[in-house]
């Protein structure tokens, strides 16, 4: 390679390339990290909303059962079935969105839902519950109503409530599991953060090394010979000392040195 200008330009361009490169790397890594953060946040949001919808569906089923069995409102018989179907659909939806590792949890949730609804179906099959307002004035109470010995509250607390509690626990387990599955992803995120920082850090170290080299080369191949030439030229003109430059010179600086030498030599000969 010849030409001091070319050398300095290429040296300078190397630093620019390195800067661009380290910027590009950090951009790439930060972009990756941002994607991971989005994924974690999205997953967390989805997990919360699906848990909410599951709990809503369980509560709706519970309300329908209370109306049907405890308050003995026969109009809620269909509501129980509709709520159960809605709940099963929601479980299916949440299962589709969840990781395959949670399959066992959803299987057990399906089983618990089935068992909870079985209790209600058994009640529906065993007797026909007529519409009975919760508080009937004695004058309006029929003989049939008075003779009905079905203890709705007792059935609810003895048969349905244990199933409902088990079901709620199941939903809770699904919620906990989906939240704890976020922890390895968060760990991955911290590793990605390290990966985003390290290349930039190393690029910076390399850039500092290159800058120091650049400074050193400019000093020893350009600045030092010029300073020495200037001093020696001055001494040579003033005190007639032979012009001598000991520093290593490159390209144009070397040519300059040789030209000065030849001018001074010609002057001495004349």
């Amino acid at each position: 390679m010849k030409g001091i200008r070319k050398r300095v330009t290429i040296g300078f361009l190397s630093i620019v390339v390195l800067l661009f490169f380290s910027g590009l790397v950090s951009l790439f890594e930060l972009n990756n990290m941002s994607g991971d953060i989005d994924a974690i946040l999205g997953s967390s949001r989805r997990s919360i909303s699906s848990s909410e919808s599951l709990l809503d569906a369980v509560r709706a089923h519970d309300r329908a059962v209370i109306h049907y069995a405890v308050l003995r409102d026969a109009r809620y018989a269909d509501s129980c079935n509709i709520c159960y179907n809605t709940f099963v659909d929601k479980i299916r939806l949440v299962r589709e969105e969840s990781a395959s590792s949670a399959t066992t949890l959803f299987d057990s949730l399906d089983m618990l839902a089935r068992s909870m609804h079985n209790v209600v179906e058994q009640l529906q099959a065993s007797r026909v519950i007529e519409y009975t307002p919760p508080v009937l004035p004695d004058s309006l109470a029929t003989e049939e109503n008075k003779a009905d010995s079905f203890d709705g509250w007792g059935w609810y607390s003895d048969n349905y409530l244990p199933e409902y509690d088990a079901m709620s626990d199941g939903v809770l387990r699904v919620m906990t599991s989906s939240q704890s599955s976020l922890s390895p992803r968060a760990e991955l995120l911290s590793r990605n953060a390290y990966r985003a920082v390290t290349p930039v850090f190393i690029s910076l170290v390399v850039m500092i090394a290159i800058l120091l080299m650049f400074y050193y080369f400019v000093v020893i191949y350009i600045a030092k010979p010029i300073v020495e030439m200037n001093k020696n030229l001055g001494d040579s003109l003033k005190y007639k000392i032979p012009f001598q430059v000991k520093s290593e010179c490159l390209d144009e600086v070397n040519e300059l040195k040789q030209r000065i030498e030849s001018i001074i030599n010609n002057r001495t000969i004349r």
Binding site: M1, R7, I10, G11, S14, V17, L18, F21, V25, R191, Y194, R195, T198, P199, I202, S203, V206, A209, I210, M213, F214, Y216, F217, I220, Y221, E248, L250
Partner: protein, 481 residues
């Protein structure tokens, strides 16, 4: 000393490293673009830039002074170790800055000591880079650069001399270019043959190549957490024993033997002593293991003894068993092997058997002189009279080497290591063996060592690999002028 010239040639060596990083990135790419691909590509680009930069400014020179030669060689080892950290650091995992430095220095100096608890968790690209560092370090970082440096002419001999062990170059009677060619040809051929044999013994291509590179460089890095014990194969152990044993010999002698020259392995006194030490040490260790009932029969005892003796004496550090449970006598012999080590001009580190032989002969001469004070005795090796200056240098080297180990033990014990761990760590790192005894046994690693101890051990590795004086000189500023 012209620093610009030193920087230029270190730059050329960095280009060689960048090429190996790119090769490792290629392996990562063909392993389904594993997680080490981007770290290796990035490291390669940075190293390339760092290596190219001095070439823009510094013109070629055909004369390099001895000081500059030392500067290039020592500087190249240190810079190579720093640059070798880049892929580890970028990949992350168990590699903190200190751990990456330790692993990189351990690789380039072919020590084979590791801080990794889960080697099998590393992606293939990074595993290959780990092996590449020890393969490059095996014959010397500068040796690779000398092949692609036709422009430096007369300086090549000087740089080859600085890189090679002081005893090794005396055994070469060729021009410097021929020496470099002989060393590299022998090295590459041995690696290829070992790879093929390991493949035939049932290893996959990747494992075969990695273990061949590791065995021929006498490093001892493996691809499995349990080293060679993972394969549990007699044939694999036999191939590795042969590869390690040959790598512990002077490469010039191997070349001479292959090309049918008279100064071959069988005639050399040093190689005869080398084989004798291996034979006797293996026999004693084997008997000790058998008598202690560590192994059920004498054959298994001998097999394990031979493998570990060769592994330690060649400074490889491969293992098939936990040596910590061995009897003290066997451990003592292993420590002796770790001090003596292989021949000069090989890839093994340590004191070198050549120096051991000179020291033994000097003791014998001294005893003869006491019996016959007026007689004149000469110390000969292979029939050649050794001059007093060379013998003095050997003795100084042995004393300095022992002193260095003592200093190492002092620092290791100061930072909490027990005596056995501290001593074996200092010895294993100065001799570039790798595993030691105690907490850093064959089935353990250096991860639990404190940061200061790790730094101390990396300094010992570099001092041991550069035969002490080269590196020490750099600390004397007056020497730089």
């Amino acid at each position: 000393m012209r620093f610009s010239v030193v920087i230029r040639y270190i730059g050329v060596i960095l280009l060689v490293l960048a090429a190996f990083m790119l090769l490792s990135a290629g392996i990562a790419y063909f392993s389904n673009v594993d997680s080490s691909y981007y770290p290796l590509v990035m490291s390669s680009l940075l190293t390339l830039l760092l290596g190219c930069f001095p070439l823009i400014f510094v013109p070629t020179t055909d004369r390099i002074s001895t000081k500059e030669g030392y500067g290039i060689v020592v500087g190249a080892w240190i810079v190579a170790s720093i640059v070798g950290m880049f892929p580890y650091l970028m990949w992350g995992g168990e590699f903190s800055i200190i751990n990456a430095w330790f692993e990189s220095v351990s690789g380039f100096t072919t020590t084979g000591a590791s801080i990794l608890n889960n080697i099998e968790g590393l992606p293939r690209g990074l595993l290959f880079w780990r092996m590449a560092t020890c393969w490059i370090g095996g014959v010397g970082v500068v040796m690779f650069a000398l092949v692609i440096l036709p422009s430096i002419g007369k300086s090549k001999r000087m740089m080859a001399n600085v890189e090679l062990s002081s005893l090794a170059r005396d055994n070469f009677n060729y021009r410097s270019q021929t020496i470099v060619r002989i060393v590299l040809t022998t090295y590459i051929l041995m690696t290829i043959v070992t790879t093929l044999l390991l493949k035939l013994c049932g290893m996959c291509w990747f494992d075969a190549l990695c273990h061949a590179m590791s065995a021929c460089s006498t490093c001892g890095f493996g691809t499995k957490n349990t080293s060679i014990a993972f394969f549990n194969s007699g044939s694999i152990e036999l191939v590795l024993v042969c590869a390690m044993m040959l790598s512990g010999l002077h490469f010039g002698l191997i070349y001479a033997t292959i090309t049918g020259k008279p100064n071959n392995i069988f005639r050399s006194e040093v190689s005869r002593v080398y084989f004798a030490v291996i034979g006797i040490a293996s026999l004693f260790v084997g008997l000790s293991l058998w008598l202690s009932e560590i192994y059920p029969n004498i054959l298994l005892s001998m097999r394990s003894a031979l493998f570990h003796t060769v592994s330690i004496i060649t400074t490889s550090g491969f293992a098939t068993a936990d040596c910590n449970i061995w009897p003290s006598f066997a451990i003592m012999i292993m420590i002796f092997c770790a001090i003596v080590c292989g021949c000069a001009g090989s890839t093994s580190g340590g004191l070198k058997i050549d120096r051991f032989l000179v020291a033994i002969k000097m003791i014998r001469t001294r005893l003869q002189m006491q019996r016959h004070p007026d007689a004149i005795f000469r110390t000969k090796i292979d029939g050649i009279v050794q001059d007093d200056n060379m013998m003095g240098t050997v003795m100084v080297y042995i004393v300095t080497y022992m002193l260095l180990i003592l200093i190492g033990v002092f620092f290791n014990t100061l930072y909490g290591a027990d005596l056995m761990t501290g001593f074996s760590a200092a010895l294993a790192c100065t001799s570039n063996v790798g595993p030691g005894f105690g907490d850093i046994g064959t089935m353990n690693n250096y991860s639990a060592m404190p940061v200061v101890t790790k730094m101390n051990l990396t300094a010992l590795m570099l001092l041991g690999r550069l035969e002490i004086f080269g590196l020490i000189q750099l600390f004397f500023i007056r020497w730089w002028r």
